[in-house]
Every structure is written in C-alpha cells, then in structure tokens.
C-alpha cells in the first residue's frame, strides 16, 4: 500500500509571532509560525486579517524574531527551528515568496537539549543575533552589510556555559554601544552532585549579560547577578536615548526591573481574588509599545489578564518606579503584537486568534501595583488583588478561526448533504467548542428578497464603463423582464429602456455607455441618449443563445445559425458575419476584450452532438473553426476565462497568461481546457465532477480578478489564490443563475436566483478549505460519538483543576456581592459607573473571554452532553458529581436484554496525574436513551478497580479496558457482570476495536495488541503485538489484519499482520493458543509488520476513514492538536506511485525546505518514512520558478502542465 499525504487544513494554532515591515513601506505585517507553517498576515483597511503568504517549511519552528539593519527600510526574519541551522528570510514582494538570505549550520537537527534554536534574541539596532538552546549553548552571529548593501552574517561566536539551563534570552537596548544580550540562567552542576538536596534548594537563577565586543569580535560574560527564582521571561526595555535601558525580568508573581549598576525595582503582579493562594501568577507573553517619547509594556498572565507596565525614570536613566496596572483580559496568548496602526494582534494559545483595536491605554481607575508601595511582610510580599472586568481598552474587530486543539473528530453525513460533515471537538476549558466543518467557502448572505414569479436568469449591468458600481439588476421570468435599479435601496424601475414584456437572454453594457438586451425575437440596443435600435430576427427564427462582451455579440438562432455583430466606431452594432452550424447550438461564450485590443479573438460554441468548437472572430478568418474538442456529454455552459499574467505582487506567483475554456457538461462534469493564445488549439484538459446537475458557468470578480462561478447541485467558485487555481464549493444552497454584483455596501458580491428569491451574498475567507459552524461546550471535550440513528452526538467533557458550574455560580455571586459591598474600592466605582442593573441582563464576565477560575488540580468537573447538531441545541446535559471525570464512551446493544442500544460511559474518580497517575477507582455508567434518543437516563453504575479508559461493544457484551486489564462485561439488573478478563497488558489500554472475534487493543505506550476471544473456553489471549513502543494517541481499524495508529510524537503508522500468520491463526482450531502460552520476547508469539510510516510533525489526536467527495474513494483523515486536518489517500495505480515518488524526489533536491530542515529527515524524524508520498511537498511545484518547473518536468518526461494536472487530479480525488 502506498499513500499520498495531503494537508486539507493547515495548522491553525500559533506557536510564536513577530511583526515588522517585511514588505517595505509603511504597513506592518505579522509573521506567525504555526508549527511547521510560516504565514505572513496583514490587517487590511477594514481591519480584517488577510494572509499574504503561507509556506510549509517541513520542520518545527520554535522561535522567530525580526530585525532591521540601521538605515534600512525593510525587516528581515530570523527563524529558530529544529534544523540545527539559523535561517534569515526576506520577503520578496515581486514574487510573493520568502527568500532565504542566509542559512548557517551550527549543530545537529532535531529539538535537542543543547542544540540552539529554542531562543532567539536580536540586538535592537540589528547588529547581532543570539540563538540559544535550553541548555549550555548560545551562539552569537554578527550581522552587517557588504559593499552592495547585502546582508552578511559572521561565523558564530560562542557564549556557552555548561551545566546551565536557560529560561529566556533577549537583546539589551544600549544604543550604539557594544551589543549586549541578557539571559536567565540556572546552574545545576552542584545540585546533581549533592545527595542532601541542599544544593538543589540553594540553586539560584542568575541574570547574565553577554557583551559582544564588536572590535575584538568576541563575546564575554559581562555581568551576572542572582535574581528571583521564579524568573521565566525577559523583556527588553528601550534604551539609548529612548529609555533607561536594561530588562524587565518577569518572574512568578513579580516583575523586576534590572540593569547593570542599577538597583532592582520590583512590583508584584496583581492577583485575581478567586485565585487559590498556592498558585503563582506567571507572565506568558509580552508586547512592547514604543512611540517617540513614551513606551509601555503589555504583559499577559497565564490566566489571560493583561497588565500595562510603565517605568518612571529620571534624567540619569535611573528607574524610580515600576507600575503595573490592570489593562484588560483576553484569552491566553502565545504571542501579542502591538502594531503602529493601533491594533493588537493576539495569537491565542488555544482557540480563535483575534485582532483588537486600542480604545484607551489604561485608565487611572484600574487596580495598580507599584514598586513604591511594595509591602514586605514576614510571609513575603503583600499581594495586590483585582477583579477582572469587561474590555475597556480593547475592542475586538476581527477574529481568525482556529481549530487548535482538535481532540476528537468524526466524519459522517448526519445532515444528508451531498458531502459528509466533519465534526471536530476543539478547544480547552472555557474555549471548548464543537465545530462542524464542511468543505467549501463560507458565504455571508447580504439580502434575500422574494420575487413575484420564478425567475430564470439574472444579470447586473453598469450604466457606463467608468462607473464603479452596478446600476441595474435585471431579472428575467418566463414571459417578462424585471428591472431593478440599485441605489440607496433596490427598487423596480420602468424608465430604463429595457423591454419588460418579454423574457431576456442577455443583458450587458455595450461600448462606453450603451446597454443591450437580447430577447428571443431580437436585440435591443439602448444608447446613452435614450435612442433605441432594434434588430429583429429574420422570419420565424428565435434567438436561443447569446455570447457577448463589451464590443462583440454573437447570437445563435434556432436551427443552428450563428450571427456575429461588432460595435463600430460610431457606437452602432453592425452585423459582420454569419455561419450555419450543423445543428442547434447548446451554448456559446466570448472572452472579454483584452486590455488595449479591439476585439476578443475566440468564440467558443458548444453543440448538442457533444462537441465544443473554437471559432475565430478575427476579420481575416472570421467565423472559421480553429479547433474542435469532443466531450463525453453535451455541454450546457461555456466560459472563457483568462488567467492573468500576474507580474507577481502580493497575490500571485509567476504565471504565464493563458486562456482557459471551462465547459459544464450535462453529466455534471466540469472541463477545463487550455486554449492556445495564437492558434486556438485546445490542449491539457482537466475534468472534475461537480454535482448531479449540469454546471452553469458565470464570471465573477474575486479580489479584483476574474473568477468563475459554477452552479451545479451546489455552487462552486474557481479563483486564483496565492498563485494556485482553486475550485472550491461554496457552502450555500443550490442556485439557478448568478451574476457578479457590486454596490456601495458590497464591493464584490454575487446576486443569484434560486426558487422565487433573489439572493445577494459575498464570499469570505478565500483560500480556506473548510467553513465552520461553531457550538460552544462547557468543558474540554475528551471524546464523542455519533448516534447515526438518532442523528445526535454524545460528547464527554472533563476538565482537571476546574470548578463545576454550580460551584462557580455560587462563587461568582459571592464575588459580585463582595465587590458590591465596597471591599475593592476601585472596582466598586467601576460597577457603579457602567454596570447599573446590567449584571442581571448579561454575564459581566463571559467565560470564553476570562477563562474558568482555577481550582486545586485534584478537582475535576465533567459532564455528558447529548447534542442535536442540526438544531445546534443540547438536549441533555448531565453534570457528574463527586469528582468524577468522564473519559470513555461507546454505545452497546446487549444481546439478551430489552433495553435496546444503551450508552456506556467510563469515568474516573479523583484522578491525579502527578506525581504519579492514580485514582481512587472508576465507574462504568450505563444510560438508556429515552425521548427518541434526546435524553439519557441512568440505568446503573458499576464501580471498577481502576479507570475504564476504553470501551467497546463486542458480541452483545461490553469490552472494557481498565488500566492493564481487558475485561468483558455483561449487563446485569443492578450492575455490569464480569465475564472474562486478561490482565497482561503492558500499561494502560487506551483503545479497543473489534472485528469478528478479533479484538485490537491499543496500549498507551506499546502500540496495538491483537487479541482473540475464544467463546468455548471463555478466554482472551494476545496472539500478536508490535515490536516498537508506540505512545498511542489515536487508532483506526482498517481491515481484518490492519490497524492504523498515531503516536504522541506526531507519527502516523499502519501495521498489518502477515498474511500467513493471519491464516494460520484462523485455521488453527486452538486459534494459536498453544503458541500464545509459549510467548516470545516477553510478548505475543507473532509480531505485526509496519507497512506505513509517516511523521506528521503534530500530535495526531484522531483518525477517521471517510470519503469527502461523492463517489470518491475512501481516505484516512486525521486531526491534530495544532488544529490541522490532513488526509492519506491510497494510490490506486503503480504508475501514479512512480510518478509522485519521482516528483517528490526531484522536489526534495530542487526545492529544499525553507527553514533548513531536510525534508526526508523531517518525515523520518522518529522512524524512517515508509511508502508515503508527501503531497504538501509535491504541491509546492507550482510555486517554483518556470525554469525549475520545466527542468523537473523534463526529468519526468512530462510537461509542466501535465504535472499540474496530475497534482490537481489527485487533490480532487480527496476533496
């Protein structure tokens, strides 16, 4: 078996981010690393975040910084990754790519303890960069420019210190003095030797300054001083005239200002009042805002509260006071970026990212802690308390959806749509949600209005070429035409000159400012001054089809006669040429007039004899057939689309201009054929099945470029995105006819008719594969199942260290009362000012924004939810009591009972992970579905001696994995009855699958075990297992002998029992039991073989078998913790395997990954990659330069077009 791996949705979580002027010019861009993907984002004029570029780097990006050489206008990006290399990137505006400026190797690849890459710091003046590891190694590179003003990088200078753990590094701003880097270091050498533990207790973190002596080209440890042992992060303080220089040391509960030869200035970080006393407050992300004569820092705590830190300093740059003021609370971020335009980009750790606008910069009424009023008592420093409140300084203006983390995923067609839906359980704690993903673009409906009849077609038309917006919407009915004028409102008009007593076939703008209406009996040409010219059809013939652009009109009469008109110099429509076709014309189209030309050269005509012809419209060979294409079914609609020769820029790679002829056939297939610009020859046809109805094609505008709308049983949009042509379905209902629409309110919309309604909508979030429907959940979803009969979902949610909703409500009430009684004076004022009577109406502190209050880690909150996804409502929610946490579930039909299908839920009681995993037992709950499966009713609860971590129905009984034990239970009156067990599993059973009498058991650490149940002897025994230790996170049953699994380190693998062993077991009357009793190598007598191995690079949390397109083959879908969804498609032919493995090989050589990690090494990070071809790498082929594309194509004995077609084809087989 060979698989083709393709990411359908790239990772949506963000690991780190930085911002600067990468494009050059005034705007600021944000560079975000999403694990193995590097994205450049930019807020547009409307405050919506747009992705400029997204590159897969095939490596783990761990740190990013930006720097600028003095006097330069543009910033560079430095990337620290797992490649053992430092990489400096520059954004290339012309090609819309990131160019590797420098790549310097310093160590082994992989995320290792002493190989730098974890930390990066730059000198604020851009003269040097330091790259550090978790331990020991730090390297400094000097950055400079050569005579040609190109960036140069020196050989590395070492600043190592062995036996030292590094927590954070940063550059110190010291103007144009020698660059200094600061690091938080902890020396462990003595603690390792001292068995009394004294040394470990005395271990002290130090703040160390490393100075790079530019003259001597040498790094020295300049200064080191003990600091607070809770220190975890450093923030640079502006210096060199802009501020006092030095660093802010963020420690647990404190922020301390430190600089050489200066006294420490310390202030406590205010605590939430409901925070348990034993918990510290840790700063997890920071942003600095610097203006000409002021600067401040925004520090965010692990609970989401942002504090504004300001420094008071005198003229000698002595810091006198450090103030920490509560600013606002937003979900915890992994990075924050304060843009010059007044935006705050918050890259959330989990859940959606957001863009905020500043409304204020912190008011005086908020709780403040200052170094001046720091109180030290015998128990330590006196804490300062505050209550979070509503957003005051920030306003959210955009949100970027993120699936991170996907914890479970199921694919099913519960809604009976054309394609299945992907149900994902996402998020953590208060940000938990169930998201339903549908392949396709999201659509925003702007207006729907009912029409007096059932319309057959719709057009929009401008009054003049120079108009920005459309003037009329023209709707055609069976025997009438309705004209709507677009203004402040849309209303019917009768003075437009259009004939309203007949249906219309086409309406368009002709020439500069005249309008044309084509109806069955003629052409009506309405001049700007109101004169009307009518052309009548000869005899009893009627017009059946029309193709037109601004200068040319072709009509097809019944019987198959084509008449060609052209606009002359005086603005008259003149008949030029006629041609008799062999039969009726099915459809025709003319491309728009190319810029600077008189006419478009090609006319495409489709006939009912299943042919498509290209005719010339040039005067010298007018109406001559240039080429013919025979197709599988009569064409219904044609569209000539010019893919513009993009000269690069922000939204396209280098693409040669080419005209594509798209044809929608009656069998639902869309053909896309390239038309030779000179000869009109058709070549390179790509086909795609769109739906059950013949696709109708319309041109539309997407981001100012021509795009294609295809209306089949669902609408599709074909457009260019970042240099790729994408054909994506829209998540919208079936449409009959559509036209592009542009008005004051909606610059790039679509107006369409469906049924008896006129609909106006816009398409958003271009480039996304899926659109989401979000339903919030209460706690972190752990697992869920679909109930296909009831069409419901049963979701288990549990949170560690959380309060149950009941406890939380009580606490909240108390807190509000307490603040009302004036204990917290400042808060009291706030409440008075803006909270009068509002509390009752809306929740003052919505959980998704503020997070759940922390509870001791021994406390669990958990619930079982039944959700009707169609209505989006929870029909039943059972909150578990007594510190139980629901962890596993399945539906089971016991064979001898009347209950029907019941739900089994495994729960733990008092589960603890630390210092070792333990619990005081667990339960298996059995619920009955009542009320048509909408509610659950407890039947009974069976205590078990461990945590039931896996459940599975098996031959009318229930299989349960309890720690190391696999057990079979049967249903009793009061509880479940134990029937059979096997205690010999290595660690903890995390997954159970069954097929026939075979049971596939997944262990937490040791992969799969194949188990057989012998009914006559009532025995469970393992007959095969894996030879590799695999920390299983997801599992999927493929076939009788094959299992797919994913491990904690980001690998996906398939394993198969060898054919002969499988047969032997099945044939053996004892089922291999005798062999089992002997055992082998402390395990089962047989070993399975690994047949597929692939490193994804993100922890895969769920695997599913599904087919995402109607009639398509099945593939394996996976969801990861980073919020990405990918697919593995089995190849169906050997030729494809050869082709793609060669393409992959060439791309590995010619297009090495951007961040310096070797592609093959990355995909083989833990185990050598086996029989998987990386589609993500193959799909980088179109982004290569034309020469390189051709070179690779030559080596493969193909043309670049064929390769692109292959890539498109295989993608279309998946989605």
């Amino acid at each position: 078996m060979y698989l083709y791996s393709l990411s359908l949705q790239r990772a949506t979580g963000i690991v780190c981010a930085t911002y600067g002027n990468f494009v050059g010019g005034k705007t600021q861009e944000i560079v975000v690393a999403r694990g193995k993907v590097l994205d450049i984002l930019r807020p547009d004029d409307n405050g919506k975040l747009q992705t400029l570029l997204s590159v897969e780097v095939f490596g783990a990006i761990r740190s990013l910084v930006q720097f600028r050489l003095t006097g330069s206008q543009k910033d560079y990006i430095v990337v620290g990754s797992d490649s053992g290399r430092i990489v400096i990137l520059e954004y290339n505006r012309e090609k819309n790519t990131l160019d590797k400026v420098h790549q310097e190797t310093f160590g082994k690849s992989g995320c290792r303890r002493i190989v730098p890459g974890q930390y990066l710091a730059v000198d604020p003046k851009g003269r040097a960069v330091m790259i550090g590891a978790c331990e020991k190694q730090k390297l400094v590179y000097v950055l400079n420019r050569d005579n040609a003003a190109r960036l140069t990088i020196s050989s590395p200078l070492e600043a190592h210190k062995s036996h030292t753990i590094v927590y954070s590094i940063t550059g110190v701003d010291c103007g144009f003095d020698n660059p200094i880097f600061a690091a938080i270091e902890l020396d462990y050498s003595e603690a390792d030797q001292d068995s009394t533990g004294q040394a470990a207790q005395d271990a002290q973190k130090h703040l160390t300054f490393y100075e790079l002596d530019l003259g001597l080209n040498h790094v020295v440890r300049k200064w080191t001083e003990p600091i607070d042992n809770g220190a975890n992060m450093l923030v640079t303080v502006p210096g060199g005239g802009d501020g006092p220089s030095g660093v802010l040391v963020c420690a647990e509960n404190f922020v301390i200002y430190k600089n050489q030869n200066r006294p420490d200035v310390r202030a406590v970080i205010p605590r939430r009042t409901d925070l348990p006393a034993e918990r510290g407050v840790l700063i997890v992300s920071a942003a600095t805002h610097k203006q000409k004569n002021m600067f401040f820092f925004l520090l965010q705590t692990e609970y989401g509260d942002i504090f504004k830190v300001t420094l008071d300093y005198d003229s000698n740059d002595h810091v006198t006071e450090l103030k920490i003021r509560y600013f606002d609370t937003i979900p915890v971020t992994s990075a924050m970026c304060v843009l010059k335009s007044g935006f705050l980009f918050a890259a959330s750790e989990f859940g959606n990212h957001a863009l905020y606008q500043f409304q204020g910069i912190g008011q005086d009424t908020d709780v403040e802690s200052s170094s001046a009023n720091l109180m030290e008592t015998e128990e330590g420093f006196q804490p300062v308390f505050f209550q979070p409140r509503k957003l005051k300084n920030l306003v959210q203006i955009d949100e970027v959806e993120s699936l991170m983390p996907i914890l479970d995923m199921k694919v099913a067609n519960l809604f009976e749509e054309e394609t299945p839906q992907i149900f994902t359980a996402c998020g953590k704690g208060s940000l938990s949600s169930l998201r339903i993903l549908r392949p396709g673009l999201a659509v925003t409906e702007m207006a729907v209005s009912q029409l007096p009849g059932v319309p057959s077609a719709v057009w929009t038309v401008k009054r003049s070429v120079n108009d920005e917006f459309d003037a009329y919407i023209v709707v055609s009915f069976v025997n009438a035409t309705l004209v709507l004028s677009i203004g402040e409102t849309v209303e019917e008009v009768s003075d437009s000159g259009f004939l309203d007593t007949t249906p219309s076939l086409a309406v368009s703008l002709l020439g500069e400012d005249s309008l044309m209406q084509v109806h069955p009996n003629g052409i009506r040409h309405i001049r700007a001054d109101g004169r009307i010219n009518e052309w009548k059809t000869p005899g009893k013939k009627t017009i059946v089809k029309v193709g037109c652009n601004r200068m040319q009109v072709v009509i097809a009469l019944s019987g198959g006669e084509l008449i060609y008109f052209e606009m002359d110099m005086t603005g008259q429509l003149m008949e030029i040429e006629k041609r008799e076709m062999s039969g009726d014309v099915a459809c025709l189209d003319i491309a728009p007039v190319p810029e600077g030309r008189q006419r478009s050269r090609f006319l495409a005509v489709g006939s009912y004899d299943s042919t498509i012809r290209i005719l010339s419209l040039d005067p010298d060979d007018c109406m001559q057939i240039l080429s013919v294409q025979a197709v599988s079914s009569p064409p219904e609609s044609l569209l000539l689309l010019e893919v513009q020769a993009s000269t690069g820029g922000e939204d396209g790679a280098d693409h040669p201009a080419s005209v594509f002829l798209s044809a929608g056939l009656q069998n639902g297939v869309l053909l896309r054929t390239e038309v030779d610009m000179v000869t009109g020859q058709l070549s390179d046809t790509r086909t795609r099945f769109l739906g059950l109805r013949a696709p109708k094609l319309f041109s539309a505008l997407v981001r100012g470029r021509r795009a294609m709308l295809c209306l089949s049983s669902r609408p599709w949009l074909g457009y260019i995105h970042q240099g790729h042509f994408l054909l994506t379905p829209l998540s919208y209902e079936t449409l009959e006819y559509a036209a592009s629409f542009s008005s004051d309110q909606c610059a790039e919309g679509v107006v369409a008719v469906a049924g008896d309604a006129l609909r106006v909508f816009t398409i958003e979030r271009l480039g996304e594969t899926f659109n989401q429907t979000v339903m919030p959940l209460r706690y972190t979803p752990r697992k869920f199942i679909l109930h296909p009969k009831n069409k419901t979902l049963v979701i288990l949610e549990s949170d560690m260290g959380a309060l149950t909703t009941e406890e939380r409500d009580t606490n909240k009430k108390e807190a509000i009362e307490a603040s009302g009684s004036g204990e917290n004076g400042k808060m009291y004022m706030d409440e008075q000012e803006n909270g009068e009577g509002e509390e009752e109406k809306e929740d003052p502190l919505p959980d998704p924004q503020y997070g759940f209050p922390k509870a001791p880690s021994s406390k669990w909150a958990s619930c079982i939810r039944v959700l009707d996804p169609k209505a989006g409502e929870t029909t039943c929610l059972l909150e578990l009591q007594d510190n139980e946490a629901a962890l596993s579930l399945c539906t089971v039909t016991f064979h001898d009972k009347e209950l029907g299908t019941v739900l089994a839920v495994g729960t733990s009681k008092d589960l603890k992970f630390w210092p070792r995993k333990e619990s005081t037992g667990g339960f298996i709950h059995i619920y009955r579905f009542v009320n048509e499966g909408r509610t659950l009713e407890l039947v009974h609860k069976t205590p078990v001696d461990g945590v039931p971590t896996a459940l599975c129905p098996f031959q009318g009984r229930l299989l349960v994995g309890v720690g190391q034990i696999l057990r079979i239970y049967d249903l009793g009156k009061r509880k479940l009855l134990r029937k059979c067990e096997n205690k010999n599993f290595p660690n903890t059973i995390t997954a159970i699958h069954t097929y026939g009498d075979r049971i596939y058991v997944g262990d937490l650490q040791e992969s799969f075990h194949y188990v057989k149940y012998r009914r006559d002897e009532n025995q469970l025994y393992t007959f095969a297992d894996d030879s590799c230790p695999r920390w299983l996170t997801a599992s999927l049953h493929i076939d009788f002998d094959t299992m797919a699994g994913a491990d904690k380190f980001g690998n996906i693998y398939f394993m198969r029992l060898p054919q002969d062993v499988s047969e032997e077991i099945e044939d053996d009357p004892t089922g291999g039991k005798i062999k089992w009793e002997q055992g082998r190598l402390n395990g089962a007598p047989n070993k399975v073989e690994e047949i597929i191995q692939f490193h994804v690079g993100e922890v895969v949390t769920s695997l599913q078998k599904a087919s995402l397109i109607p009639g398509g083959g099945e593939c394996v879908l996976y969801g990861t913790v980073m919020g990405s969804v990918g697919a593995l498609l089995p190849f169906s032919s050997r030729e494809d395997v050869d082709f793609f493995s060669h393409l992959e090989m060439h791309l590995r050589q010619e297009n090495p990954p951007l961040c310096g990690r070797d592609h093959m090494a990355f995909r083989s990070a833990y185990f050598p990659v086996k029989d998987v071809i990386d589609g993500d790498l193959c799909e980088q082929y179109p982004t290569l330069s034309t020469e390189l594309q051709r070179k690779i194509a030559d080596e493969l004995d193909r043309t670049p077009g064929e390769i692109l077609k292959k890539l498109e084809d295989i993608r279309n087989r998946i989605i």
Binding site: V15, G35, A60, R62, C111, R112, R113, I114, G117, Q118, C134, E135, K136, S162, I165, Y167, L186, Y188, A191, D192, Q193, D194, S195, T196, G197, A200, A203, N232, L282, I283, V284, S285, E302, Y303, V332, S334, E349, F350, M404, P405, L407, K428, G429, T780, D799, M800, G801, A802, S857, F913, K1048, F1049, G1050, G1097, E1098, V1099, T1101, T1120, V1121, M1122
Partner: protein
C-alpha cells in the same frame, strides 16, 4: 593495541563528553543516566510545541505555564542523587 591509540581514543571520548552533554562513560551510574534521559525528554517537550499543547490540555494549564514547569523540572528531574560511596 598500542599505547598511543588508547590515548587517542580516550582523548576523543573526552572531547565528545565535553562537547555533547550526556555522552556516557564507563562509570556512568543509573541515576546519572536517568537524569540525562529526563533532561533530554523535557527539552524535547519544550521544543515540540504540539506536545506541550497536548500536555497543557491534559493538565488544563496554559502552554506557557507548562513550558515553565518543564524547565523547572530540569533542575532535579529524578529527585535527589544517591549518596556517593566513599572511594
């Protein structure tokens, strides 16, 4: 084996031990070995963000806190060292 060779191998080993933290030697005891493995593991967790996120979800902590906890555990990953036998 000649004397010079032995010297050579030894010096090479010493070089490796100095350069690569965690390179073993003949007298490595169980504790030292375990400490090395644990530190390597923690460093790997910190470096692989998806893994950190995975732990953070399990423990219901923020990723930042989880990273800090792992850094802190690098100090004494296996508890106190055993008492040294007097030579």
């Amino acid at each position: 084996m000649q004397a010079s060779d032995r010297f050579n191998i030894n010096s090479q080993l010493e070089h490796l031990q100095a350069k690569y933290v965690g390179t073993g030697h003949a007298d490595l005891n169980r504790f030292e070995w375990a400490v090395n493995i644990q530190r390597d593991s923690y460093a790997s967790y910190i470096g692989h963000n998806p893994l950190l996120a995975y732990f953070a979800v399990a423990e219901n902590e923020s990723i930042g806190r989880e990273r800090y906890n792992f850094m802190q555990k690098m100090l004494l990953p296996c508890g106190l060292p055993p008492e040294r036998e007097e030579d």
